[in-house]
């Protein structure tokens, strides 16, 4: 009988699960770490060997987490196709093992991973677009996931139920306690991807694969606000100043302070921006971006 401690057993099995390689590589690495031989630790039976038993856990570990990523990044999986998506998802899981008790954080660094691992040295514009888009779609989907579980304005009855005219009147009288909706996120992308997202969603709805003649976006800065109204996801394209302004509000600046910070950053007059911002404010409240 072997005398392995609980700590040793757990370290060994976890190493087998998370290190790179096929099962033989994994067992070798776990042996190098812990000096534990498979057969001294795991029982074999006539029907199933110790190796096959460990493989159920090792293979299941990756498949399960790839499934979770596929669930969170369903648009990306549809866009890339299942085989390519699974390849990147597996590489991500092996490179960045989960450190959280919650699967919710599993995909937190996926967009960054895709951006860092994209092929370099491409000069063809169309190819470059193809290579750039996965990380852009992943950032959009990850942000959407955050918006869907964040605190929202659903319990704040006055937040979005006033008409534009009522909002404007209220804002003119008092705009001192305007705040960003807690579920609001703003992102900047290198491509305007909303049209592409709609095409992908249409394919998913029709259970179709992506068509060859997909209309891909042309590279240019894109500013988006992602939020939620009555539990429904909403995404809005923003002007650059609106993106900056909301960003400052999210960081906790008052609306008036955010206007000043934005004007400073854009090197425009604060007065000019104030009139644009005040005109936009009632709309921004109705869009679920800000609330009073």
């Amino acid at each position: 009988m072997s005398e392995h401690s609980l700590r040793q057993v757990q370290h060994w099995l976890q190493t087998v699960l998370i290190v790179r390689g096929d099962l033989d590589d994994k067992l070798l690495q776990a042996y190098a770490h812990d000096g534990v031989m498979l057969d001294t630790l795991i029982k074999s039976t006539d029907k199933i060997s110790a190796q096959q038993r460990v493989d159920i856990y090792a293979a299941g570990y990756v498949l399960r987490l790839v499934d979770c990523l596929r669930c969170e990044f369903s648009l990306l999986a549809q866009y890339m196709g299942d085989t390519l998506f699974s390849t990147f998802a597996k590489a991500f899981i092996v490179t960045v093992p989960s450190k959280s008790w919650s699967l919710y954080y599993l995909g937190e660094q996926f967009a960054e991973f895709l951006a860092q691992t994209k092929p370099q040295g491409i000069i063809d514009v169309a190819q470059q677009t193809m290579v750039d888009l996965p990380a852009q779609i992943a950032l959009f989907e990850r942000t959407k996931s955050e918006v869907l579980v964040a605190q929202g304005l659903e319990k704040n009855v006055t937040a979005t139920e006033l008409s534009i005219e009522q909002q404007m009147l209220t804002c003119l009288v008092n705009n001192t306690d305007i705040q960003a909706a807690p579920c609001l996120r703003v992102i900047t992308l290198d491509y305007p991807i909303l049209e592409l997202i709609s095409q992908i969603e249409a394919c998913i709805a029709k259970l179709e694969v992506m068509p060859d003649e997909l209309i891909l976006p042309i590279q240019q800065p894109c500013y988006l606000a992602l939020t939620r109204i009555h539990y429904r996801f909403r995404v809005w394209s923003l002007a650059h100043w609106q993106y900056l302004l909301l960003g400052f509000c999210i960081q906790g600046s008052s609306f008036n302070m955010a206007i000043k910070q934005t004007a400073l950053q854009l090197e425009v007059s604060s007065d000019e921006l104030t009139s644009d911002a005040m005109m936009w404010l009632p709309q921004a409240i109705n869009m679920g971006l800000l609330f009073q």
């Binding site: 057993v9 099995l13 976890q14 699960l17 001294t40 299941g60 499934d67 450190k99 008790w101 579980v149």
Partner: protein
């Protein structure tokens, strides 16, 4: 290794005060639209995966809040990591407790397993070596968790695909001593008994008879998949005949115990799940459905899929 702290048993009467809830289903995001549109019938209570509602203030929590008004809720977790030799994660336990303050669950359960070590989470329910060392370790940690949550913990027997050479206790022996020393309760997953018994070649009926029967407060039912020589706990099939037979035996030994049907992949429409759950009532009336164990001829069966409740809309 942590030292063993002998504590006073946690409120010995707490388990006895738990009343059977009847027949329940797992709350899954696929069913949110149905549950919010129709008056919900055919189910007595719901079980939630705790981790899917911690730090979640979206539609899922809204649905949960609506259901809480009409149904008892049980919190079933997958990340307590009770068997790990790493320190207990009190940030997690803090959040679990906060969710319990909101949900006011009938009880809180997790699994007799470990999920990760040294900060890593495998998101799998990994098997314990069933040794005296493990037993002392788990007793110590269950005591700490029960002290922290101020309620008895309910632990489920997992499906296992491997056994350790150094195991010196059977799972029923482990559970019996654990329950005796901590006054925790047990969630008996009869499908997991069937799966583990098949994979390791022990008698599932003897296993059930040797459990601490008085401490079983809940039973899980699910459908596994045969993959090669191994039964995998896939939670994606109807409950097969041998699992119904074990369920009938367990209920006859324990008296009426709350029943929950688990279905976590390829999830059918809500009324179909209710129909499957209703079979449990016919089993208790003496009729066993003739459903075969299903075979998977493709690669890539996933055990115990831990489904991330994806927020829809």
């Amino acid at each position: 290794m942590t030292s063993y702290i002998q504590k006073q048993p946690f409120a010995a009467s707490a388990i006895e005060q738990i009343n059977p809830l009847g027949f329940g289903l797992g709350l899954r995001s696929e069913h949110y639209p149905y549950l919010m549109q129709k008056p919900v019938t055919g189910v007595d209570w719901f079980e939630i995966i705790s981790e899917n509602y911690i730090d979640n203030y979206g539609y899922g929590r809204h649905v949960l809040e609506q259901l809480m008004a009409d149904f008892p809720i049980v919190m079933h977790g997958v990340s307590m990591n009770i068997g790990s030799s790493s320190a207990l994660d009190f940030d997690y336990l803090e959040k679990l407790k906060a969710l319990a303050d909101f949900v006011k669950p009938a009880w809180i359960s997790d699994h007799l397993c470990w999920t990760g070590f040294a900060g890593v989470n495998s998101h799998d329910l990994l098997p314990m070596p069933l040794t005296e060392e493990s037993l002392k370790h788990v007793i110590n940690r269950v005591n700490q968790v029960q002290d922290f949550l101020q309620r008895p913990l309910v632990l489920e027997n997992p499906s296992t695909y491997l056994e350790f050479q150094n195991s010196s206790l059977t799972e029923p022996e482990f559970f019996t001593q654990l329950v005796e020393q901590t006054q925790c309760a047990m969630l008996l997953d009869v499908n997991n008994v069937y799966v583990s018994a098949y994979n390791h070649g022990f008698c599932p009926r003897t296993y059930i008879k040797n459990l601490p029967l008085k401490s079983i407060v809940q039973m899980h039912l699910a459908g596994p998949t045969l993959s090669g020589h191994c039964l995998i706990d896939t939670h994606d099939k109807p409950v097969p005949e041998p699992v119904w037979e074990l369920y009938q035996l367990a209920q006859s030994l324990c008296g009426p115990v709350s029943t929950l049907l688990e279905w976590d992949a390829n999830i059918p429409a809500f009324p179909e799940l209710v129909a499957e759950l209703n079979k449990a009532k016919t089993v208790l009336a003496g009729q066993i459905p003739h459903a075969p164990v299903q075979n998977n001829h493709q690669q890539g069966c996933i055990s115990t899929p831990l489904v991330l409740a994806k927020e829809k809309l």
